[in-house]
C-alpha cells in the first residue's frame, strides 16, 4: 500500500537538493565576514602598536597614530548614551507599564517605527537643523551626540520594552493585588528583573553608534583636528569619519593605515558585542523563574 513510487522517490531527491542549496546559501553568508576579518587582520595587523593607539596622526594623516579619533569616538558614544538611555528607558517604561492601548499610544508606536526607518543621512540633516543651528550648539560633540541619540532612540526603546515585556505579567498582578502602585511594582520587581536585558540592548546600541559616520559628519566630527576634545562644545575627530577620510580624501596614505584604523574600529564594536553576549549568557544562567 505504501510502496515507494517514482513520485515519492523524486520528492525525496528534491527535498535533499533543496536542503543542500539552502545550507550553501547560508554558508555563503559567513563568507563576507570571514573575508573582511582576515583582510583586516593580515593588512591592518602590522600597523597595530601602542604608539598607533596613543599618538596623534602626523604628516597630513599619512603617518602617526589615531588617538584623537579614538578618544573622540568614546566621547561621542558616551554623550549619546547619556542622552538616549534616560529618554529611551523612560519612554519604554511608559509604553510598557503605563500606557493604555489608545490612539495616542498607537501614534507613538508608529512614530517609533518610522523613526527607526529614517536613513542616517536624514538624521544628519535634522541634527544640523535642530542642534547645530536652532539650539546653537554649533558643530560640536554635543550636537553630534544628540543626533546619534535621536537616531538610536527607537532601538533603545524597542529593546528596553522587549526586556520589560519578558517579565511575566503574573508578577505585576501579584504586586498590584497586594496594594503596590505601578511605580512600586516597577522598582521592586520589573526593573530588577529586566535591567540585564535593558543593558544588553544598550551595549549593542553602543557598538552601532561607534560605527556611524553620516550623522556626525556635519554635526561635530572634524576632518583633521590633532587635539583631544576638552568639552562637549568642542569638535572632535572620530574613528568612522577618520577611516572614511584617509581612505578616500587624503593622497599618499600607506596601504596598511586604513586597514589598521578599520581593525581598531571593528575591534571596538566586536568586543562590545562580545561583552553583551557574555552578559546575556551569564544572566540566562541566573534565570529567576
Amino acid at each position: 500500500m505504501f510502496e515507494t513510487t517514482d513520485l515519492n522517490q523524486r520528492n525525496r531527491q528534491v527535498e535533499s537538493r533543496v536542503k543542500t542549496l539552502f545550507l550553501l546559501m547560508t554558508l555563503l553568508l559567513i563568507l563576507p565576514v570571514l573575508v573582511i576579518l582576515t583582510m583586516l587582520v593580515i593588512k591592518g595587523g602590522p600597523m597595530l602598536s601602542i604608539d598607533f593607539l596613543f599618538t596623534e596622526p602626523t604628516q597630513g594623516m599619512t603617518a602617526g597614530g589615531i588617538l584623537p579619533a579614538l578618544v573622540g569616538t568614546v566621547w561621542l558614544v558616551v554623550v549619546a548614551l547619556l542622552a538616549s538611555v534616560p529618554f529611551g528607558v523612560a519612554a519604554a517604561l511608559y509604553l510598557s507599564e503605563y500606557a493604555a492601548d489608545n490612539w495616542l499610544t498607537r501614534i507613538i508606536n508608529l512614530a517609533i517605527i518610522n523613526l527607526a526607518g529614517v536613513p542616517s543621512i536624514v538624521h544628519a540633516l535634522f541634527g544640523v537643523g535642530a542642534f547645530v543651528l536652532f539650539f546653537r550648539f554649533g558643530t560640536s560633540i554635543l550636537a553630534a551626540s544628540l543626533t546619534l541619540a535621536v537616531m538610536t532612540l527607537p532601538v533603545v526603546i524597542v529593546s528596553t520594552r522587549e526586556a520589560l515585556q519578558a517579565v511575566p505579567h503574573a508578577f505585576r498582578e501579584a504586586c498590584w493585588n497586594m496594594g503596590a502602585t505601578r511605580w512600586q511594582t516597577i522598582r521592586r520587581v520589573v526593573l530588577p528583573n529586566s535591567i540585564s536585558g535593558i543593558l544588553t540592548g544598550v551595549i549593542l546600541e553602543v557598538s552601532r553608534t561607534a560605527g556611524e559616520t553620516a550623522p556626525i559628519m556635519f554635526t561635530g566630527a572634524a576632518f583633521y583636528l590633532p587635539f583631544l576634545p576638552q568639552s562637549v562644545y568642542d569638535q572632535t575627530m572620530a574613528m568612522s569619519l577618520h577611516l572614511f577620510v584617509i581612505s578616500t580624501q587624503v593622497p599618499d596614505v600607506p596601504e596598511g593605515l586604513p586597514y589598521g584604523v578599520a581593525l581598531v574600529l571593528i575591534g571596538m564594536v566586536l568586543s562590545m558585542n562580545a561583552l553583551s553576549i557574555a552578559f546575556r549568557t551569564y544572566l540566562r544562567g541566573k534565570k529567576k523563574w
Binding site: 497586594m178 496594594g179 520587581v189 529567576k288
Partner: protein, 268 residues
Amino acid sequence: MVTDEGRTAVDGSTRDGAEVKLSVRDLSISYGDKTVLSGVSFDVEEHEIFGIIGPANSGKTSFLRALNRMDDFIPEMQVEGEVLFNGMEVRRWRNVYALRRRIGVVFPLPVGLPLSIYDNVALSPQLSGIKDKTVLDETVERCLRRAALWDEVKDRLDSLGSLLSGGQQQRLTIARALSQEPELLLLDEFSIAVDPVTTMRIEDVLKELKQEMTIILVTNLVQQARRLADRTAFFLSGELVEVAATEDLFTGQVQDARSRDYVEGRFG
C-alpha cells in the same frame, strides 16, 4: 461544616447578628460588550469561609477581580453595581492601595515573585512603609509559620521564592497574602497546581485562618467547598444560580435543580 441549625438559615441568607464583611449588590461585569457576570447579589459574613463553585468561564475569577478593583488595570473590564467592603463601596475608598492591602489574593497558579523567600513575605510590609528589621523578621517568620512553610524554608530564606516547588510556592503566596494582615482572603482555585498532600495542609491552614479573617474560596473541586465552606454560591455562565448553606447544597436541599446536578457531577 455547618451543623448548628441556628448558624445558617436554610435559604443561605446570613445568620442573624453576624457582621457582614462584604456585600455585593446587583454586580455585573463585562469585558467590552461581553457580559460575564450579571446581577449578582449576596453578603459574606465575617469569619466565614464562603465557597464559590461553578464550571470554567462562569465568571468566578472576574468576580474576585471586582472586589479589590483589579479592573483598574484591565481597561476593557467594566464593573456595575455595588461592592461594599466594611460597609463602604470599594470605588469610594479614597486609598485604593490601602483597600487592596486589606484583601489578600491567592491565584490558581502559584506566583513566587523573583525575590528571595524573605522578600516575598516582607515586600508588602515594606511597601506600606515598615523598615524596622526586627518587625520585618518577626512578620516573615509568623506568616511563613501560619502558611505551614516555615520549617521547609527557614534555613534558606535568601534563596529565590520563584524557584520553590509548586506546592511550596503556593504556601509562599499564602504567607505573602497574610503579611498584608488581610481582613478578607480571596483564594482562586488555589489547588490547581498543587499536590494533594499540600492541598490538605493548606486546607487545614484555612480552617485556622477563619478565626481571624473572612475567606472567599473559589474552587474547581466541589468536595473542597464541601470540606471547607460554611456557605457556597454556585455560579453558572455569569449567573448566580444560588447561595446555600454548604450542607444543604450537598444534601440535595437546593432551590435550583442545576445546583444538585453540578455538585453531583452530572455536568460541568
